[in-house]
Symmetry: C2
Subunit: 317 residues, 2 copies
């Protein structure tokens, strides 16, 4: 990563560069069990370890009101933070929500969004316990999830050479849906729906933790980008196998229609909130997970031993 | 409060009306000890009760970058959420921060803001454990505080007729500072500084709880407005005594210069994050608190037995 100077703008430095600089100067305390840089932090509060994670969704950047209903935006906003705690091997007890909204927003939009937030929380037994609503020219939703994990959380940096890499949950569908919407289409409906409302594999994080997962992340920046976070945090290399990925039928259809390799949705997509985890051996991988690669000494991420040349990463409008 | 219809806009319905509608439809769970509607929520996580509160600050609405440094905005953003837990009688262990920022924001601004957040947290021994940074046309800061309280938190609704009302912390200074800035002045410097960086009476909430406070709120909407929240939540009336308030010298100076009653800063101001609490008797009121009124049967808030005719409430630009 290039060094970030104080006089650069956010656009020049990039979010990741600025975040790295921000984290440098944050003091810690004895209560901090897991600090910044993982899917969620863990703080000792009243004897127990509490997981906490926050995410902000911005209108026109993470969602578009003409592409998704208020209800779906609420579902997705909650899913993003619930997924962060899932990726630590934990669960969410409650969320709080900060909404900024233009003065001309219909009350109905806020109410339906709230229903979406509540319904997504209901999937994991969490409650919406508070929030803040304030006017702003830009509609944003910030969702903070608090919860817990039994025993130690699964960090990003724990993979060792010889571990296998496994994936759980639908992957690439949301990216295909976004590609379709960006070209002005509304079908195939299944991928558009997948983009609007991810189906997060809740509970699978705790399952992986119990099975001895050594490292885990939720796929939100894009599969290869997030594999890169696992590699960098762990000081290891990840090699993924192209033919280990299932490229589901709807992705083939979208790829054919748009003239792109459907595998690029799988490797580059980041809106499904699937889980990518490492396990000490193939035998340790729980049912429902698909082994897609392995961990080796070195650094970086390769596909079949080579750098992937296709599109990757987080490609929001 | 007038009923809010779905087809109204946020501007027509007002934030409080919309929030009331939002809260109506939020399901709860067994883990929720204190739900929406207080300064903070309390959720049972891993055996203990965890306090959580979130607040969003919007550029041009809650702060102006030409009126306060990035560092001060960071201090104030953290103070607002830390104060919420203070008002429950608890303390904060950690905060997470969501920042949305324009692409042309200087990295330096984000770094200095982050220093302000960290330094304010340091006052209460809290850490900044995570966050999210994303681009948006409007600069916003959402801060979520998590922490705990020894024993039961002090709620808004616990006051009984016969209780005394007491105030702790500087009150009205920030409102006077804002009034000065709004007229294009920069002095008296003490009130401008008070607006830029509140001096929150951290620890006083826990002190009040230990002393048997029956109800408490942090003054953030305006003293009379927040007294109104105590009255409404408790199903009681609050009567405040005009001559019980100390109108500090700088407020007299600003009042004289701007031709307004300086008491209006005290009664209307909401940016100092002072604490307003009720106690079973005057004897129970801890040192450092000033008795400013009493609780009676009935509803609403009066000053010397009458409705206050001056300016009140939250009057941001």
């Amino acid at each position: 990563m290039r060094p970030v100077s104080d006089s650069q703008t956010l656009a020049d430095a990039g979010e990741f560069g600025v975040i790295a600089r921000l984290v440098e100067r944050l003091p810690t305390t004895d209560s901090v069990l897991v600090g910044p840089g993982d899917d969620a932090a863990q703080v000792r509060i009243g004897g127990g370890g509490v997981l906490v994670a926050t995410d902000v969704l911005v209108d026109g950047r993470h969602f578009r009101r003409d592409w998704a209903t208020a209800y779906d935006v609420g579902r997705r906003a909650a899913a993003q933070s619930l997924s962060d705690l899932n990726a630590m091997g934990g669960g969410t007890a409650a969320i709080v929500v900060g909404m900024t909204a233009p003065a001309d927003l219909a009350v109905e939009w806020a109410l339906e969004c709230s229903s979406g937030l509540a319904d997504e929380c209901d999937l994991v037994g969490a409650a919406v316990v508070g929030g803040d609503l304030t006017r702003s020219d830009v509609l944003t939703l910030s969702v903070t999830a608090v919860g817990s994990v039994e025993g130690e959380p699964v960090r990003r940096g724990g993979a060792s050479p010889g571990d296998v890499v496994a994936l759980r949950g639908r992957q690439g569908w949301a990216a295909a849906g976004l590609a379709v919407l960006q070209r002005g289409f509304r079908s195939p409906r299944v991928v558009v729906e997948a983009y609007r409302r991810p189906e997060v594999p809740y509970g699978a994080g705790a399952e992986a933790r119990a099975a001895g997962a050594t490292a885990m992340i939720d796929v939100s920046d894009g599969l290869l980008a997030d594999a890169g976070h696992l590699a960098e945090s762990g000081g290891v290399a990840l090699d993924l196998r192209r033919d280990a990925f299932e490229v589901d039928e709807p992705l083939h259809a979208v790829g054919a229609a748009l003239g792109v390799d459907p595998l690029s949705f799988v490797l580059g997509g980041g809106d499904d909130h699937s889980l990518l985890a490492c396990f000490p051996s193939g035998d340790a991988v729980p049912q429902g997970w698909r082994v897609v690669g392995e961990v080796a000494e070195g650094s970086g991420v390769t596909v079949d031993g080579e750098e992937y040349e296709g599109e990757t990463g987080w490609r929001h409008f």
